[in-house]
Structures are given as structure tokens and as C-alpha cells.
Amino acid sequence: MNKHPMTDGQEEKTGTRREFLRNVLAGTIPATVLMVYGPGVLAHREPSELPRGEGIPKAEHYWIYVININNCIGCGNCVRACKAENEVPDKTFRTWVERYIISGEGVHVESPRGALEGFREINAGVRQRAVKSYTVPKMCNHCHHPPCVKVCPVGATFKSPEGFVLVDWEYCIGCAFCVQACPYGARFINPKEHKADKCTWCYHRVKAGKLPACVTVCPNKARLFGDRWDAEAEVTKVFLEDNWLVLKPHLTTDPTCYYVGLGREVI
């Protein structure tokens, strides 16, 4: 095997170290600058700081969602309504309900078929041992800082100025990065469309002046939807009483689904 003249460095000894350092620096500095000050920094700006295009109307509402655990009876109406309204395929759920049964042995959580048919009655033995039991509706939290939006490689998923986190199916490439990034298990790949799917707060209904399907069918006002900017709205009263919680607050996603009466066992 012969040596390549470029690699046969005997005659190149002088200045080798300087040359090496110069080359490495020439590569490292631009790369570092690009990574630290590059377009990625946009991710850390507040939505209000982001440049807005001409002609985009100012948001008139900021929609939020309130779930009152004390009122939820676990009937599964909301899950059925969501399935019907949004044609959610089998096995996948835009919303589901969990039942927690807490006893001395530990925490038992279940959500049979997402509570599509509600829950079976708790048998007498378990009932005797249980310290408490409650049901918790779950769905997309339409976060202020949605990690799912940040990771989308093509910008197909976005946070609208009115608070909806939506997926544009005309752009989604079905990579499932957003599914991984969502800490709440609210996203899935639609098995028929092969694109990311999730709760939209029934965007199509809300734009038509209606409430989301799940809110409409809830028999006990466990699910409320309204405008955060409307002082008279029922959802804003939650903030006056200041007894709300959000899911996984340590992840700093800043959800806009607010829970009232949330048990500490709920994750």
C-alpha cells in the first residue's frame, strides 16, 4: 500500500500544530455560534414577542378548559361524544377517563377502553378496602409551552393565538416526534391517516359558536370550556377561588386545562 501524499506528513511538520488549531477553530467557532445564536433561540421567546404577519387578526378569545373532579361521575359520555364527533379510530383516544381506587395496598388505576362504556361497579371486597375512589377525565392540555409544537420538524403542529394546539394534516409527515414529546399521552398516530392526532377542543365547533362535544354531553358540569378573558365566564371563577392544579407541573409545560379537586395520586 502506498501512502497518500496528503497524509505523508513528514515535510509538513513545521506549522502542523498551528494549522491544526486554526482548522479546528475555523470549524468550531461558526458551528457554536450557529447553535447558540441560531434560529433555535426563537423557541425561547414568548408568543407575543414573535413576529406577526400583516393582516393576521388579533385574537378575541383565549380559550381554556376546566375539569372539576368532584363533579365527574365516570359515565364516559364525553369519550363517546368525542369518538362520534371526531371519528376517532378504535384503540386511540382524544379524551379518556381514568378511575383511581386508593387503598392501603396502593393505587389502582384503570381506564377500560378509555372508559368508552364507563366503568364496572367496584365489587364489595375492594369497596371495603378502598380509602377513596374518583374518576379523572384526561385529554390534551393545550399547553402554553407545548413540547409537542417545539419538536415538530415541519411546523405542522402549532399553538393558535386563541389557545388551541392543533395539527395541520396538510403538513404532518407522521414522524411521531410530537407523540414522544407529549408528557400526557394525549397524542397518537392516527392508524387510518398515518398522521399525528389529538384533541382539538373541537375547534370546528368552537369556531361555529358551539362548545366542544365532550363539554356539551357532560351531565354534571365536570367539564367546562370558556374564555379566560371573559370575566363573567364560569371558567374564570376557578382562578378567583384559586384551588386549581395542573398535571405534571414539574415539566413546566404550563397547561391550560385546569383541574379542580385533583387528587395527589393523579399523574
Binding site: 497524509t7 386511540t92 413540547p147 419538536v151
Partner: protein, 405 residues
């Protein structure tokens, strides 16, 4: 099995019924790592001027290029809408590590292609002149010269200068390439096993060791098949460097888990039952006890006790084979293992091996074999191990040649 969150039943979120990133996404960082690792070996000669590596520098660059050609393919086959894959470049979303990876990968491939072209340019010119640009083959050689069919001492100087700059750029770019793969996983705070700042560093180091180990296995195979004499000083130095990098790699891999365990942090509640449950065989026994410990000891033995040539060759290949498997298993444990933790944090998802589907094991194997096939094809056309060089004793420029119209 013990369950996290004081849970008495295995509860997973309803949408967690499937592992969304399957075996193809295990292969994706693996192939990407092999590119970065193989490239680093070429820099040992081209930039760090370690003479023992001179004869495998070009080989490692071509190998890196072959892996590079297929690094994005697993991603493509995994997409729900593969026909929209180019949107990652056309309508990029700058906050997405996957989007940035596309650009880093694309530019890195250009860098690799240019560097290889510069190295083999004298060879292309020679072939173009020999074939006189006639016929299809001649025209292909002429096309490979990009129309420049003369080669002067000045050309050599210019090529060397550009090559040196590209190699200098290549090091941070190779780190960025694989660092970004690690970032794709490390930035997901929703998954306990992924979301750690150490992830990109571990990915880079494991990339280097896997690329180096794969290169030595390929070198041994090629040298054996082509009856090329083995370069034992190179192999010994290779093993010494590999030993050092592997030591840092496995230290960081262990350190990451050790901190979770010592701090008994939030993640540990999920990681502990995962490690001692579904990942016991692949992570603890496979990745750490067998495939880290044994090659580490073998590499140490080669480096410290200088066994005889044949024994060195045997042990080096044994260690390298175990290291490529270690890194493959590490990718599996991170990619699949991480997703086994349901985001309910009260149970574990089951992974079902799938062999024949679009994202199955056979597809992954086919994609993984493809770079080796490409290497074979390239090696039939370009003498990878021979000097492509311009012969300095003939100071005259080669005859200019214009192909027949």
C-alpha cells in the same frame, strides 16, 4: 414486577398501546454513529498526523460516506407520510432537533463527498485520460473530474489546503451530527430515560467507539479477503485509542444511571423497575456486564501486555465485535427501553417484535446491510486502499484532454 407510583396494577395510558418509534429508529442513530466514528479515524491521520493511520484514512472516509448515504433511510421508511420527507428541508421548523439534524446531515454529506472527491481526484483524472473520455465509461470518468483533466503540483497544494480545512470543519460537524441525534432523544423531557443533558455526549462517544470498531472489523475482513498484509502497529494504536474512548463512553453511561439511583430522583422510580424488569437482559446483562466489561478488559490486555500479532488481531476483532453489538444494544435500550415507560408513570408498555412489516426487523436489516453493499460497489470502481495519488516524480502536468463531443 415492581411498579412505579405505588401502583398495584400495570396501568398504561390508552394511547400508549404501541411503541411508536420501533426498530428502524434503533438503526437510525446506529448508522449515524458509524458515520461519525469512521470519520474520526480519518482525522487521526489527516489532522492529528498519527502516521499509523495513514493507510486507512481514505478507507475510513469512504466507509463513513457509505454509511452516510443510508443514515436517513430508516427515518424515511418510518414516516407516516414518506412522500412529505423533503418538507423537513423545504419548510423547516427551527426549534425542532429533527429539522436541524436534516441540515447538519445534508451539509455533512456534502463535506464528506467533497473531501473524498479531492482525495481521489488524481485517480479520476488519470482514468479520464486513459479512457480518453470515449464511451459511457470514459464519459463517467470525465464527469467525475468535473471537466478538469490536468493535475499540477499546484493542484496538489490547493487540494491539500482545502482538504485540511474540510477535515477541520468535519470534526465539529461530525460531533454536531451525532450530538444532534443525541439531542433528539435528550430533549424529550416527557420520557424519563431520554431527557438528560448527558444524552448527546453519550451518543457522540458511543458513535465514535462503534464507528471505530466497525471499521476495524471491515479492515480485517478486507485485508483477509484481498490478502493485504495486516498492519499490526496500526491495529495496536487503534486498540489503545479505542480503549480510552470506550472507557469514557461506558463511564458516562454508568454515571447517568448512577446519579438517578443515588439521588433517588423522579426518573429513578420508573427506571429502577425498568432496569430490573424488561431491560434486565439487554441493559444490565447484555450492554453492561457482557458487552462492556469483556471488551474493556480485552482492549486493556492488548494495550498493556502487547500480545503476539495473530493474538492481537484475534482479540482486537473479538473486542470490536462486542463493541458494535454493545452500541447496537445501547441504541435498543435507549430507543425502545425509554418508550417502555408509559407516561402514566404507573406501568410499562410491552414491546412486540415485528419482522415483516415496513418497520420490521427485516427492513431494518436490509437498510443496515445496504452501506456494506455500496462499499463493495465503490471498491470495485475505486481502489480504496491504494494511493490515488498524483506521482510527484513526474513534475509535468498530465496531458490535458478534452473528450470527444
Amino acid at each position: 414486577m415492581e411498579l412505579p407510583g405505588n401502583s398495584i396494577t400495570n396501568y398504561i395510558f390508552p394511547n400508549n398501546y404501541e411503541i411508536w418509534w420501533s426498530i428502524l429508529i434503533v438503526i437510525y442513530p446506529y448508522i449515524t454513529g458509524l458515520i461519525a466514528g469512521a470519520f474520526i479515524v480519518s482525522t487521526l491521520s489527516h489532522l492529528f498526523r498519527i502516521k499509523e493511520f495513514d493507510n486507512i484514512a481514505n478507507f475510513s472516509l469512504v466507509t463513513a460516506f457509505c454509511f452516510g448515504c443510508f443514515a436517513g433511510v430508516p427515518l424515511l421508511f418510518h414516516l407516516g407520510q414518506p412522500q412529505r420527507a423533503l418538507e423537513i428541508f423545504i419548510t423547516p421548523h427551527w426549534t425542532s432537533p429533527m429539522s436541524i439534524f436534516g441540515y447538519v446531515y445534508f451539509t455533512y454529506m456534502i463535506l464528506l463527498a467533497v473531501e473524498i472527491w479531492l482525495i481521489y481526484r488524481p485517480f479520476f483524472i488519470r482514468r479520464a485520460n486513459e479512457t480518453e473520455g470515449s464511451g459511457l465509461v470514459g464519459y463517467v470518468w470525465y464527469a467525475m473530474t468535473l471537466g478538469v483533466t490536468t493535475y499540477h503540483p499546484d493542484s496538489l497544494r490547493a487540494d491539500k489546503k482545502i482538504s485540511a480545512i474540510l477535515t477541520g470543519l468535519g470534526i465539529p460537524w461530525a460531533f454536531a451530527l451525532h450530538g444532534y441525534v443525541g439531542f433528539i432523544f435528550g430533549s424529550v423531557k416527557a420520557i424519563a430515560m431520554w431527557g438528560t443533558p448527558l444524552q448527546p455526549v453519550v451518543f457522540i462517544l458511543s458513535a465514535i467507539v462503534s464507528g471505530m470498531a466497525m471499521l476495524l472489523l471491515m479492515y480485517t475482513f478486507i485485508a483477509w479477503r484481498t490478502k493485504m498484509p495486516f498492519e499490526y502497529p496500526m491495529i495496536r494504536k487503534f486498540m489503545l485509542i479505542l480503549w480510552g474512548v470506550f472507557l469514557i463512553d461506558i463511564s458516562l453511561e454508568i454515571l447517568e444511571l448512577a446519579f438517578h439511583k443515588y439521588e433517588l430522583d423522579r426518573q429513578w422510580e420508573n427506571l429502577e423497575p425498568l432496569m430490573y424488569g424488561p431491560l434486565w437482559e439487554t441493559l444490565i446483562v447484555g450492554q453492561f456486564l457482557i458487552l462492556s466489561l469483556i471488551p474493556f478488559l480485552v482492549l486493556g490486555f492488548i494495550s498493556l501486555f502487547h500480545p503476539k500479532d495473530k493474538m492481537t488481531l484475534f482479540l482486537a476483532n473479538l473486542a470490536c465485535l462486542m463493541i458494535v453489538l454493545q452500541v447496537l444494544l445501547m441504541r435498543y435500550n435507549v430507543v425502545i427501553g425509554g418508550q417502555l415507560i408509559s407516561k402514566s408513570e404507573r406501568g410499562f408498555v410491552e414491546f412486540h417484535w415485528d419482522f415483516f412489516s415496513r418497520e420490521g426487523v427485516f427492513m431494518a436489516a436490509a437498510i443496515f446491510i445496504a452501506p456494506f453493499v455500496l462499499y463493495y460497489v465503490i471498491s470495485r470502481v475505486i481502489p480504496i486502499f491504494d494511493s490515488p495519488a498524483y506521482e510527484p516524480e513526474d513534475d509535468e502536468a498530465t496531458e490535458p484532454h478534452t473528450p470527444a463531443p
